[in-house]
Amino acid sequence: MFNYRVMAIIKREIREKLLSRTFIFMTILFPFLMFGGIGIQFALHQDEANAKVAIVTENAPLTQSFQKELLTSDVMKSGKLSLMFFTMNRPELKNYLEEKKKDLLEGQITGVVYIPLSSLKDKRIEYYSKTPTNLALSRKLEGPINKVLIDSYFSNKALSPSELDFARKSLDFSGFKVSKEQNVKEEGYGNLILAYIFSFLLYISLLVTGQMMLQSVIEEKSNRIVEVILSSVSPKELMTGKIIGNAFTALIQMAIWISPIILIVSTTLIALPPELAFGITLMQIGYLLINFALGLLIYLSLFGMMGSIFDNPQDAQAGMWPIMILILVPFFIALSMMENPNSPIANIAALLPFSSIMVMPIKMTLVEVPIWQLILCLFVNILTILLVFPIAGRIYRVGILITGKKPKWSEVIKWLKYRY
């Protein structure tokens, strides 16, 4: 398969892509864009922490216990959050809200947390704000408030302090939902960042490389240069050369992108704070690259096939949604895993054709994946290549020579049976 003809094509593809402006721009700029994005988000979080919140309860002792608990809790350590405490009943609260409406709308006061007496029984508290959906804030206050409610609930019942501790503990625990996640957090908050970086890099790379492949096939087709090339090589050789050439370029790009991570992991040149430490091995990075290489072969076959069906970029953009879905869905699954890496969907997607390209490396970054699953994933991807490649090839060899009318999907399916 790798004769001098295929090599000539591979060489040309690599040369053309590596020296193209798009490639250079993407390689240099994308990390900046991505880290810029993360930086902006970080800055926004910082901004949100600068909050002024009023805590309102219905009786003075309760207010005091909240004051005591909240002011000594971790929440206040950053110094960005300031709290005010009031004791009011519901009508008074109404007046207060009316009075402070302007402040609330202008953001002088971020929000008002109302803890009615009834909450001692049903734990329902109210939050008044311009942005009541601000999860970051409510998540911060949730723990301490819960603690006070538990304390007061059980203090009336004749329980020993140790029993109270026990009750409190279990409730605290449920506040973090997934025990494993806590483990991960302790080991390295860095892996969550890594997972984000990997999912965006894989997603963008597949998308951009695919687009480039698509354009290049369409160019050859609409330029009619393909006929000259086919007088020297077979369609299969041409497609193989193009796929390998483009995959190689994308792999180089990926390697450049993750080289800082490799550097951090393999050397002690750059030391990250312990909570940001990357819990990933070189082997795992190698696995990611191999898996990605297989994925490129699969997706580039599909993009090449699509390019051969259409003879102008507009039609191709409109017609390639099936492939876009195959890239988008795994990307969203990968993102959802940041919340819950062990969800059933993620577990299945990590071993399915197409989705495993993105999902498995992310899963591997977030949680321990058994070796057999990693191997099975590679195996599935190799099988997918063996299946996708011949189909794409059959459509490609017919498609690249057909110009003019945009073909119908039913016609494209007929191509599979053509003798060309």
Partner: protein, 307 residues
């Protein structure tokens, strides 16, 4: 032995039979013309010879062996619809095409330079293809076709879009290649080119061969019974005459075909007896153009051959 044998090729697209049982032989060292009007099936035949299309039926034999990659390596092919990578540089693209044929290195570079000089494009060798004029792009494409020194050169409509000077240059190079013992196959719908260059021809119409053989033989055969006539006066009385096979009006000239060779003298007598003023009576001349029109039907022929 024939250099290339085309045996019984058939190619159908959906319901359209593009090539219908086409067979012909290309002799060694010849210039072979594949002629027919647009859409006759020339390009499809050539694509099957190049293994770009697989034929539904039939095969192409290269010196006794079925064509495959070996043939692709030995052939230089100029497709009808030209195309080059617009962003590549002239020199790079020439070397790339040669490399795909397995030729690279200093000799190829030297040859590329030679051809570029000959086509007066040497100073543009580092320009991008897209910056060249259309005519110059064609010249580059032609150089790319022959740069690797192929044994076979297949040119699909090589003269379309070339100015007279470059047409002559191309003809010179084709004749030169013939002298080097190469086989040149070209398709054209322009009969004059075929007539001036070809040793052998095949005429295709609606996917079928309507005529084939050595050009001289064909001309002799057709000219013997053919009279090219220019005259004043009404010749309609000839219609229905038992010695006449066919009368074709070509505007200035009238082509008359008689049934037997000896009938030409009778035809002349008949014309004189009927007081027709004869300006030209040529009993030994027929152009490929006329043969084609005769065979492929005049009505359709006229629109296709406004040359």
């Amino acid at each position: 032995m024939h250099a290339l044998e085309v045996k019984n090729l058939v190619k159908t697209f959906d319901k359209l039979v593009a090539v219908d049982h086409v067979s012909f032989e290309v002799p060694e060292g010849s210039i072979f013309g594949l002629i027919g009007r647009n859409g006759a099936g020339k390009t499809t035949t050539i694509r099957m010879m190049m293994s770009i299309y697989l034929p539904d039926e039939g095969e192409v034999i290269l010196r006794g062996v079925k064509v495959g990659q070996e043939f692709k390596n030995k052939v230089g092919y100029l497709p009808e619809e030209r195309g080059l990578y617009k962003k590549m540089k002239v020199n790079d693209i020439l070397l790339y095409f040669a490399e795909m044929k397995g030729k690279s290195g200093r000799t190829i570079q030297k040859k590329a330079d030679e051809y570029l000089k000959r086509f007066e494009l040497y100073d543009r060798r580092l320009s991008k293809i897209g910056d060249l004029s259309k005519g110059n792009q064609q010249k580059i494409q032609f150089i790319a076709t022959i740069l690797h020194d192929p044994d076979f050169v297949i040119l699909d409509e090589p003269f379309s879009g070339l100015d007279p000077v470059n047409t002559e240059l191309l003809k010179d190079i084709i004749l030169e290649m013939k002298q080097q013992g190469k086989v040149i196959i070209f398709s054209t719908h322009l009969m004059e080119h075929a007539e001036k260059l070809c040793d052998h021809i095949v005429m295709i119409d609606q996917g079928k061969i309507i005529l084939k053989g050595a050009l001289t033989d064909i001309k002799t055969e057709y000219s013997q019974r053919n009279v090219s006539l220019i005259c004043d006066g009404d010749i309609s009385f000839l219609t229905g005459n038992p010695i006449i096979e066919k009368i074709s009006n070509f505007g200035n000239t009238t082509g008359i075909r008689v049934k037997e060779t000896i009938h030409t003298q009778q035809l002349l007598k008949l014309l004189v007896d009927n007081n027709v003023t004869i300006k030209k009576f040529d009993a030994n001349d027929i152009s490929l153009h006329e043969i084609f029109l005769e065979l492929a039907g005049r009505e359709n022929g006229k629109e296709a051959f406004n040359v």
